[in-house]
């Protein structure tokens, strides 16, 4: 049976990618941010996952407003890097875990989630940046990916409760998968940011830190929030954090927060990550 080795939540701010492209990791503005990810890189290098399931949103790159899928699922063998308007970034394309993706497509439809199935689609910073933060800049990515796209751009965006249920379904799909792969789940986006309107630049460091501390031990609190609470607390774009709930619900009720990191502002955004392991798994390893 496949093994769920952990769940990671992380920001996916585009300026992180730009900082890497320009070699700014060691400048005063960026060093504290990137240094905080060193343990996460070590953790994932030791864990050696085969498949990364990444929940993220497209930022008006692969999808325009002519058609906005609330949920979409990539089933491709390979995903190219998209040109977001500044030229295509020089990072490797992603290999897809197509067999698992199709298994998940079946599980989703049978479980009454009905995603747009994407056979050929390019990926933006929403997925690039988390991969770079955890895997650095390899010649080739050491994992195959399963991208799950969530609309967080145009209202109505899905509810936090629906994200939670999707995570529960994802867990079942991992458990019913016949393969032997080691699987990691990434919930991405956030933390606080608002890029539009007179409240642009809104920062809520306290709420960000509470989120990072509580998403492991106390996720029901956030699952039961309304979308308005997310927008109010984390900003109009910070509401992306609902996508971490998919990751969290895919994990056991009892998890251990292996590490977390917070830095603000990265560009205009509260930025950070958590790494969660199922408590049962941690006990097993200690034994």
């Amino acid at each position: 049976m496949a093994e769920l080795i952990g769940g990671c939540g992380t920001s996916h701010v585009p300026s992180i990618g730009i900082a890497l492209d320009r070699g700014l990791q060691d400048t005063p503005d960026w060093k504290p941010f990137f240094d905080g990810y060193i343990p996460a890189k070590q953790w994932i290098a030791e864990q050696k996952p085969d498949i990364a399931i990444v929940i993220f949103n497209d930022h008006g790159n692969a999808f325009f407003l002519d058609r906005v899928p609330t949920l979409a699922l990539g089933v491709a063998e390979e995903y190219q890097i998209i040109d977001e308007g500044w030229g295509k970034r020089d990072i490797p394309s992603f290999k897809g875990a197509a067999d698992f993706s199709w298994h998940l497509a079946d599980a989703m439809v049978e479980g009454h989630f009905d995603p747009l199935i994407c056979r050929e689609i390019e990926l933006d910073h929403g997925i690039q940046v988390p991969m770079e933060l955890f895997f650095g800049r390899p010649e080739e990515w050491p994992v195959k990916i399963v991208p799950i796209f969530v609309n967080t751009v145009q209202y109505p965006i899905p509810t936090p409760q629906r994200m939670w249920e999707l995570g529960q379904l994802l867990r079942k799909a991992i458990e019913s998968w016949a393969g032997e792969e080691r699987i990691v789940v990434f919930g991405t986006g956030g933390l606080t940011h608002q890029l539009q309107g007179a409240r642009a630049g809104f920062m809520n460091r306290e709420a960000d830190k509470a989120w990072l501390a509580e998403i492991g031990p106390n996720p029901e609190k956030y699952r039961d929030w309304t979308r308005e609470q997310f927008v109010e607390t984390f900003g109009s774009e910070g509401a992306e954090l609902i996508m971490w709930l998919v990751m969290r619900a895919a994990m056991d009720a009892d998890v251990r927060t292996v590490m977390s990191h917070y830095y603000a502002p990265a560009s205009m955004t509260g930025a950070g990550m958590v790494v969660l392991e199922n408590e049962a798994l941690a006990t097993e390893e200690a034994a």
């Binding site: 642009a200 630049g201 929030w225």
Partner: protein, 128 residues
């Protein structure tokens, strides 16, 4: 699943507006569609070249309102958002004459960039 509090955020936005927080809802999406479509087209290098060569002629390809057209030409970010521009699309216009997203944020608030960095984002003041 426990029933959560009533959630009134939908395609017509929030029933209780969140102050100074425009939500990209049906009305905004409708209002800004052509402007966002024009901005989206700039993901193609050929279109970026055409835009850079002759902005007016490039904008003629899309059905922008006179207000939207003026806002794009003036790079008036506050106005673009008011007219239905969504940041993820209109940001692509900024790739033509690169500026940091924080400067676009400051412009929307009507603050000097440095003040915005300090007062909103909590960075240390560098000048003055």
């Amino acid at each position: 699943m426990s029933a959560s509090k009533p959630d009134t955020l939908a395609s017509d936005g929030a029933k209780t507006p969140i102050p100074d927080t425009p939500l990209f809802d049906r009305a905004g999406s409708h209002r800004g569609y052509e402007m966002n479509k024009m901005a989206m087209s700039l993901v193609s290098a050929a279109n970026r070249e055409a835009f850079a060569a002759d902005e007016e002629a490039y904008l003629d390809r899309y059905k922008l309102s006179p207000e939207q057209r003026a806002a794009v030409l003036a790079r008036d970010w506050q106005e673009m958002v008011r007219l239905g521009g969504n940041i993820f699309y209109i940001l692509k216009i900024s790739a033509l004459d690169p500026m940091p997203v924080t400067a676009i944020g400051a412009a929307q608030v009507g603050m000097e960039h440095e003040d915005f960095l300090v007062e909103r984002l909590g960075k240390e003041r560098k000048n003055g």
